[in-house]
Structures are given as structure tokens and as C-alpha cells.
Symmetry: C2
Subunit: 623 residues, 2 copies
């Protein structure tokens, strides 16, 4: 028998209420995942009534536990729990999946009690690891993280990245509950209801596991107690359940996934009818506020322009130095590394702020997810790896936007300019990927001072902000006092007789400048714009350049699709008269070569740009 | 002692040669991963001399074993093996990483003996699973698959997707060798040289494991024999090694990753000098050709246009039916599902061709990787899941292009039009992602007959080809005999007085047509182009439309970045006079709502499109 909260009988009644409410919500909506909710009803009931510590009136209370429904399609269960807790009304419950309702098909943080959006499977545990890591290593609050996962999603590699990391970090404040209901969307899972298959795997990674009948409220209650009492490692409660449990017409049957019950009225009757059990959810005992974060004045690194005798500096180096400085100024900044901190220079931060540096090893999905988890707990995370390898975490970045997460993402080793390592290491798709993330900011600095300033700016932006850095040293073009507002640009060359405008960003800015010099020697004046803010883009400057020069030539170290050239074109997508546009980008498949040879091979070095412009002039494409 | 091939002493000498050659190649290049190659020298030597069956003169021999170097940065070792086998000359070895050389920083199939590009870690095993699956389930040839992996990359979730799948499929023709050299790029790995940590995990998933001293040639030889003799499950040989083994100055030290040795001459002397050992690599015993694939006449499904009384059909349904038909016509077609075959309709193929249908469960990285592996063995794979979840496999798609893979990718549930499920399930970034994949083809059909025809066309294309399908039923617009060449488009409305051109694809085509009807009722004629081939794009038709109507309005169920609108803009990126462009796309964050409400909410339904056009006319933006 539970020693606190509801009795086993009361819990069973509550579970039936959750089932009934899941049936009602999906029936009202005419769609939704009733059976997937029903299998986890006892899990939800026992958690809510006897274990969760949560103040629904204060979702930002630092002592709150975190409940992440990784199997987001079982949202009817979650919303039924909210109804039982009195957080939403019965009326709102029945708005499920309707236009304007906060109760979306899959949970999102439009509801204040939802930390992160779920619905792309295998993401709840990795994010939960981030939340638990922040709680354990940064705050030491007693709050716990509960992740309810489906069995199907245990096939996702991201789950095992998280399993490994949680054990490695000894996250005993993390409990994973796997609702082993045997049936995926299209049929049986690989392991059916064999709890030991999951237990063996999790134990091998260092987890504590408890195998229970997922419809036995006493067993579940004991399992959650055991999880809370287990020290030094995370616990997985493996619960054997029946999909569609409680309604004979659908229970344990294939073909019943993702739809309301065929006869809701009969089902509700079979489940004992509508109930109105209210659960007084225990509030967190600790009234602590978020760990106070020291902050001070930001002193960014300053670089002497190369033209004035300063050294050449790689933007990745400037990023690392500025990040370390930002860390000194702001105690809420945390950095997560994908085992390439020596290359991205994130390790500069580690040297000064080791307590706020998180090594995630080569596991980019976990890397991004842990960052998302950390911002749930009020941190300002920077996750950094090679731009190319961020593609590994694309789905997590996409979902982070749906989670309304505030997350900084840094991709180094942009483009063919990295040189000999070859295409597998080159970020040539990252701008396309990051621009298409909803509400993102995409910044592409070309020199050290610009990198430092833009890095500092990212800390206060909302949403997903991306900073793209380069591997090789380059000239410091700007003075250390120059400002670079997000959404701005810099016109680096402007003349009375500009024949066209070169638009560049990052590595291609010095190439465009050198091309302008070459062309000037031929008597061809061109404008040069440093479009460091790729999203949002400085449309006004592009419009002016279009009016005054008639032709824009974008030069980018990226594939032609989705990058700088498209950002330029989009500035004219409101129906205004568009200028002539020419794009220079990486169209071929690079091999190994020196950085200079790569830029030449791709046709984006100064000589190639100048040649392209001369051709445009000869063909009278430009005025 | 080895009972066949080289003796232990000879193997040790060969290993030293491989080390020396790795030192020489990286020294000549001035970059590259010498120490990562040196740790695996005995592994390579024993494999090449005593176990691999490979005809270097016939890399397409179906009896060949497959050697996949997942730790692609250790390419010097691979190239040194090729030199020992006589496949490349000593002269070519020293072209490593230079411009034009086939010996790239990370291996690619520019070398005929390289099946797939590696260098993004954690991809070798998943691809190897695909190769082994084809060998086992389709061909039953005795060929084996060897994957040499680093220890750092065992943190990638994709590895564990593959570990799970290989055990589930009982792939005893697959051997994983983990070079446990303790040091990642930036420092020690999580498990150091603790072989048991890896063994525990792999065993829990059902693998056979052998732990060996990775510099003991006899132990390695015995381990590979044991792997070959193990039935019913894959084997992992866990080899404890020393990074930089053999050269005191670098051995087992941090900070020596990814660079040539400081003193190559001294290192070569310490390793016993340059050698010229030649290995006669055993040729495959079986002279079988690839499993003959029956083929016949393709009879695509035919759909009666809705205007003639035919039913409305979802493009995903047409895809499933056409895919099943394609499978009947071509025995080389295989289909891989990410546990959503009932939703994507890939299961229609499964019902008719169960032997060529591969359930990969919810593991999208493995899904794509296994497809890549299958095309290595001459199959024509179709991998299918929700468009949104393909983002999970972005890095694998990127690498597949570098692998010169011929792979079909199908993403269903495109856009907000899916309705109530909400944003986590909506493909709103897939066009941006797939367009930016090098050499890709991107097709976005709007009706059933078009879907069937385009699906059939994909089978004979090269590179990565993407087909985007929709969830909801829609009108059959075209007759079953209409042709849809890749790179083409259809002008669906054209008049003398077209004020502008609506450019749509997929779900937005019927909306654009309905908008044209609404506008026609107001006396506003507009052209409508169905731009089903998003890449390559039918530039000529867009140019003509621009000339004749002056303004193009793209309408897409996708974020504004990287999709249809950008494809339209890119058609004018050669400097020609550009038309006015207006983009209608999904700019907000959708919630739950009906499909019609979603399209309305995003401003891409017929009414919204008509309203936008009326506004353009009123503001005299268009003529």
C-alpha cells in the first residue's frame, strides 16, 4: 500500500478517470491517441498523486519536479492529468486538438506546465538528461525529472546517447518510465512485452532498473519510491502494460493506434463512467529560488585590425575567447561540447569555467537536447560542434523551436575553406538547415571583432540563434569598437560608379574585398556588403544596393540552396522590383585540397569572383 | 599461430609497414591522422592478410567482403592497406590529401574499393548493417562485412540503432572491430581502455564479443576466426590499443590527434624503416554474380480524374500503390520503413513483396544508412518515413551524397496540411534540407497520377532523390497518361491577360487552382504553374511566366526559407532580369487545427492566396 497520497484503490479509480478523460478528449476531437494514453493511465495516476512535487500555480518554481511525456502522442493522458490536478477545466479538456486550443495533438509549451514539445519520439529522455544535469551539477535542488517514454521509441539512437550520458553523470534525480505496451504504430515492437530485454540493455549502461506490472498501482508506487531512494545512478521503471487497457474492443489489438475509440459511450461505460476525482498535487518542499547567478561587466576580447599590424585570427578562436569572457560576465551561461571543444574552441570556456562546461562526447543529438534541457532551468546554453555535424541534431533543433527554446548553437569549420579534411567535415548545408528553423537567428561573422560582438549579442536573443565560425585564420577587418547589430550589415566598399554589389558573409568577405581590389585595378568599381546577419537579413541595405547598382552577386561558402544567396533573394520576396541576381556558391563535390585551392575550385576566391564579375560586365548583364 | 595467410611475425612486420606508411602519407600531406591510424595497424594487417576476401581488380565482385572504415579519419591506414595489397602505388600513397588525389582526408568512393564515404563518425556500422542485410536476406552470398570503428564514436546513438538492428536480424556475417585506443580528439573517452564496458553493452543487445590486445596479431587472428565461426549473431572484436603505437614521442598521449608526427624521419626509423611487403589478398571463393533480379513490365496504378468522377486520393496512397507496382516490375527494388509504413503507405509494398521489405523500427538514422548499404550491393532502395522525421537522418543524407549513393527517400505528411497532429509531425523544413543535399532531386507531386509517374521516374535517377507526399486526400487533377518529366512543370492555367503567375507544388496546387477560379470571377486572370520538380527546376517555364506575367507568387506548405520560393528565385540567379517575386509560405508556428484551418491559418489556402493577389493588384504591384 502506498504510505502517502492516494490508496491503491483510489489510484485505480484515478487511472480509470484518466482513461475515461482520454477517451472523451479524443472523441470530442475526432482524432488522437486514445489507446496509447490508456496503457499509461496507472503510471500517470501514481506519479501525479503520490510522487510528483509540482506547484501548478508556479510552473517556474525551481523546486518543481519535471514531467516530460516523451511519448507525446499520449497527450490526452497528460491533459487528463492536468484536469485531475485542477490545472485545466473539463471544458478545456474537450477543446483537445481544436483550433486555438492549448491542448495540441502533441504537447507544447503553450501550456505553462510543459517544459518542452514532444512528438518526435526519442527526445524526452535526452532533454530530461539536460534538465537533470542542470539540477544536479548547477543547482543541487531536490527536484526530480520523470520521463515517460513509449517502448517503440527505445529504438531511437538518441535514447541510448542519453542512457549512456545519464549513467556517466550519475543522474539519480532522473527516472525513466517505459510504458511497454507491446504495440507500435504499425504493429508489434521488436521486444514485445519482454521487460528483461530493456532491463538488460539499461543495466549494461549502468542504470538501476525495476520491472513492474504497469497496471498495478502498488507496484508502481513501490517502483517510484525505489527510484527516489536509488543513489548514484538513474532508474528506469519498466512497466508492462496493455495498449487500450480497460476497453475490451481495443485492448492489446493492432490497428487501434492513433484514433479515438470506435464507440466512446460504450467505452466510458465499460470504464465506469465519468469521474471528477481531484488530486491535490504535492507542492515542492524547497522554496529556494533559482541558484543566483553572478554577473558582471562583459569585457570582450579586442583584436587589432590586420591592416594596422594586428595578427590574423580565426573566427573560431575569437568565438572561444569571447565565450570565455561572456562566461565571466554571466553566470547563467553554460557550454556544451560534442567532443570537439579543442577544434571549436569551446574549450577556452572550459578552462575558465569548468563547472559550467558539459562534455557530451560524440553524441550531437544529446548535445542539443541537453542544451534544450538546460534552458528549461533558466540557463543560457551554447552548444558547439562542427557545422557539418549539427545536421546530426536537425530534428532536435526543429523541435527546440517548437519548444520555444532559447538556445545558442555554434557550428565551426564552415565550408570548403577548411581545406584538406574533405567534404565529410565541411559545413555546406548548415545555413539552409538553420535558416529554415522557425524563428531562428543566423549569424555568419567574417572577422574576430565581429565574432566577439555577435557572440555577445546572441546571449540576449530569443529562440534558436546560430553562429557560424571558420577554421582558418583571416584578417581582422574591423576595429574592436565597431558595432554589429543583429539584422544589420556592413557596406565595406561603396562608390559613385558601382557596377554591381558583391554580397558576402564569413570566409567570403575577404575574398569579395580582394576581388573588388582586383576589379578596381581594371577600372570596374563594385560595392561590397558584409551580410553577417543572414537571418534576419538587412533588407534595406540590399534594396539600396539593388537600386543603386542594379545587380547583386552573392558569394558564399555553402551549397547554392538555402544559404546566403537565398537570403538575399528573400529580401525581394515582397513583390518589389527585383535586381538581377547572380550566385556564386559551392556547386561541385569537393575533395581534399588546401583552403586556397578549395576556394578556387569552388569559384568563390577573389580571382574567381573577379572573373565572374568581368564576365558580367563583358556580357553587359550589368550596366 | 594463424593457420592460413601470414605468420604472426610477418603480420607484425606488415603492421609496422602500415604505421610507417601512415606516417609517410601524413608527413607528405602536412596534415592527417597519423596516430589514429597507428593504433589500428595490427587490426588492418590481420584482416587484410588472413581474413579479407577481396578482388581488388573487381571491386564489384558480389563475393567480395566489405571493409568499412567507420573511423574515416584513419584513412592513412586504409590507403596503406591498399598499397600493401598492390591496389595503389607508393607514389599515389604520397599524394594523400593533395588536390586531385583520390586519397582524400576521409575515404570516399572516388576510390573503387571504398563502399561509402566515412568521416562523420558513427555511420560505418549502420551502413554496414544495410550491406550485411542485403547479403544475408537477399543474396545469401558468403561475403562478410567488417566495420572498423573508433571507441569515441561508440557514443553516437546511430551506432546503437545499428547494434540493436544487427542483433535483431541475426547478422552473423557482420563483424565490428572497435579500436579502443582510449583517446578521442580532445582527450580521454568516457570508458578509457575498459573493454568490458563496451562488451557489457554489446552483449546486452545480443552480440557476441571478443576482447583482445589489439596489437597481438595472434589474438586478433583468433578473434576474427571466432567471429567467422559464430552463428546467429554478429560479433564485436574489442581491441585494446595504443594511439600512436610504436612511436615513443606520441604513443598514448593527448594532444596528438589529427596531425602528422613531429619528426617523421625519427619515427620511421623507430618503426624499423620503410618496407615493401606485398599481401596477396585472398579472392572471394564464390564466383556468383549478383542474385538475378526478375523484372517485368511496369503497370502503374491509374486514377480517374476527380473532375471525371474519380475519387479523391492522397498522394501517399498513390505512392504506396505505385511502389508496390514498381516492386513487381523490378526485383532490385527494396523498401525500408521507419515503423510508420501504415502511414507512409510503404506497407502496400510489404504486402506484395515481404521479402524485400525491411522494417527498421523507429530509428531513422539506421533507416537511411541501411538504404545506403543496400545500394552498395546493387539494390534500388526506397526509405520512407514522415518528412519531419527525415531531419533525424540529415547527416546520413548529407554523407550519402558524398558516398555517391543512389538512394530514394520518401517523406510523407508534408506541411501544415496534416492538420490536428500539430507541428512536431509536420514536414516544414524537408524541402530546404533535401534541396541542399548535393546532387539531389526533389519532387513534390500534387495528385495521384503524378505521384505514380514521378515515383516510377525516381528508380532510374542517380544520386539522392526525394519524393514528398501528403497525408490528406485530394483531387486527381491529371489523367493517367499524362507525363511528368523530372525537371519539368505543368502550366495549369494560362491566359492572354495573366496578371501574375501562381507557382505551387503538392498540396498548394489545388489551392492555387481554386484561387485562380476565385480571381477569375473577379475578372483577374492569373497563370498557375505546378512546379512538381522542385530540383531540378523548370527554369524555362518560369522565365516565360516572368516575361509574360511580370510577377511570380510562390505558394508552399513549408517554411519560407529554402523551399519552393527559393527554388523559383534560384531560376533567376544567373543574372537575367528578375520578375517581381512574392512568397506565400508557413511563417508562423502552427498548433492543432483541421487541415483546412491550417492552410487558412498559414495563408496558403485558396481564399488567402486570392486575397494576397487582389492586394497585389490593388497596390498596382502587378500590371
Amino acid at each position: 500500500m502506498p504510505t502517502e497520497g492516494l490508496t491503491a484503490t483510489e489510484l485505480t479509480e484515478l487511472a480509470q478517470q484518466l482513461r475515461v478523460d482520454s477517451v472523451r478528449a479524443t472523441d470530442a476531437a475526432g482524432s488522437g491517441h486514445a489507446t496509447s494514453s490508456m496503457s499509461a493511465a496507472e503510471i500517470g495516476a501514481v506519479l501525479l498523486a503520490n510522487h510528483l512535487r509540482y506547484d501548478f500555480d508556479r510552473p517556474d518554481h525551481p523546486g518543481n519536479d519535471h514531467l516530460i511525456l516523451s511519448k507525446g502522442h499520449a497527450s490526452p493522458l497528460l491533459y487528463s492529468l492536468y484536469r485531475a490536478a485542477g490545472a485545466i477545466t473539463d471544458e478545456e479538456l474537450l477543446t483537445f486538438r481544436s483550433r486555438g486550443s492549448r491542448l495540441e495533438g502533441h504537447p507544447t509549451p503553450r501550456l505553462p506546465w510543459v517544459d518542452v514539445a514532444t512528438g518526435s519520439l526519442g527526445q524526452g529522455l535526452p532533454v530530461g538528461v539536460g534538465v537533470a544535469l542542470a539540477g544536479r551539477r548547477l543547482e543541487r535542488v531536490p527536484s526530480r525529472v520523470y520521463v515517460i517514454s513509449g517502448d517503440s521509441e527505445m529504438a531511437e539512437g538518441s535514447v541510448w546517447e542519453a542512457v549512456e550520458h545519464a549513467a556517466g553523470e550519475k543522474l539519480d534525480n532522473l527516472t525513466l518510465i517505459v510504458d511497454v505496451n507491446r504495440l507500435g504504430q504499425r504493429g508489434p515492437t521488436r521486444h514485445g512485452r519482454d521487460l528483461s530485454a530493456y532491463a538488460r540493455r539499461l543495466k549494461a549502461f549502468g542504470w538501476h532498473t525495476v520491472e513492474v506490472d504497469g497496471h498495478d498501482t502498488e507496484a508502481l508506487d513501490a517502483a517510484f519510491k525505489e527510484a527516489r531512494a536509488t543513489e548514484g545512478r538513474p532508474t528506469a521503471v519498466l512497466a508492462s502494460t496493455v495498449k487500450g487497457k480497460g476497453v475490451h474492443e481495443v485492448a492489446d489489438q493492432e490497428g487501434k493506434h492513433g484514433k479515438p475509440l470506435p464507440d466512446a459511450t460504450a467505452a466510458i461505460a465499460e470504464l465506469g463512467g465519468v469521474r471528477a476525482i481531484h488530486v491535490d498535487v504535492a507542492k515542492p518542499t524547497a522554496a529556494r529560488t533559482l541558484h543566483a547567478v553572478p554577473s558582471g561587466h562583459l569585457t570582450l576580447p579586442r583584436y587589432e585590425p590586420t591592416a594596422s599590424g594586428g595578427e590574423r585570427v580565426a573566427t573560431r578562436d575569437a568565438f572561444g575567447e569571447a565565450l570565455a569572457a561572456l562566461g565571466s560576465a554571466r553566470g547563467d551561461v553554460v557550454v556544451l561540447d560534442g567532443e570537439v571543444g579543442d577544434s571549436t574552441r569551446a574549450e577556452y570556456f572550459a578552462k575558465e569555467h569548468p563547472d559550467r562546461y558539459f562534455e557530451c562526447y560524440i553524441a550531437e543529438q544529446l548535445l542539443v537536447a541537453a542544451g534544450v534541457g538546460m534552458q528549461v532551468r533558466g540557463r543560457v546554453p551554447y552548444v558547439a560542434t562542427f557545422a557539418a555535424f549539427l545536421t546530426r541534431a536537425h530534428d532536435f533543433l526543429r523541435m527546440a523551436a517548437i519548444s520555444r527554446a532559447d538556445l545558442n548553437v555554434v557550428g565551426s569549420h564552415a565550408g570548403v575553406a577548411i581545406g584538406e579534411d574533405g567534404p565529410s567535415q565541411m559545413g555546406l548545408e548548415d545555413l539552409a538547415m538553420m535558416r529554415a528553423v522557425h524563428g531562428s537567428t543566423v549569424l555568419c561573422p567574417c572577422d574576430a571583432n565581429q565574432t566577439a560582438k555577435l557572440l555577445a549579442a546572441t546571449a540576449d536573443l530569443k529562440g534558436i540563434r546560430y553562429l557560424r565560425t571558420s577554421r582558418g585564420k583571416s584578417d581582422v577587418l574591423y576595429g574592436p569598437d565597431e558595432e554589429f547589430p543583429v539584422g544589420g550589415s556592413k557596406v565595406l566598399r561603396r562608390g559613385e560608379h558601382d557596377r554591381l554589389t558583391l554580397v558576402a558573409a564569413g570566409t567570403t568577405v575577404p575574398e569579395a574585398l580582394a576581388a573588388a581590389d582586383l576589379l578596381a585595378a581594371d577600372g570596374i568599381e563594385v560595392r561590397v556588403v558584409d551580410l553577417y546577419s543572414v537571418k534576419p537579413v538587412d533588407a534595406q541595405t540590399l534594396w539600396t544596393a539593388a537600386e543603386e547598382t542594379g545587380c547583386l552577386v552573392s558569394v558564399e561558402d555553402h551549397h547554392p540552396e538555402g544559404g546566403l544567396g537565398d537570403a538575399v533573394a528573400e529580401a525581394f520576396a515582397d513583390g518589389r522590383p527585383a535586381p538581377r541576381l547572380v550566385r556564386l556558391a559551392v556547386t561541385g563535390m569537393p575533395g581534399s585540397a588546401t583552403p586556397a585551392e578549395q576556394l578556387y575550385g569552388a569559384g568563390i576566391d577573389a580571382e574567381s569572383v573577379a572573373t565572374a564579375v568581368r564576365l558580367l560586365v563583358e556580357k553587359a548583364v550589368v550596366r
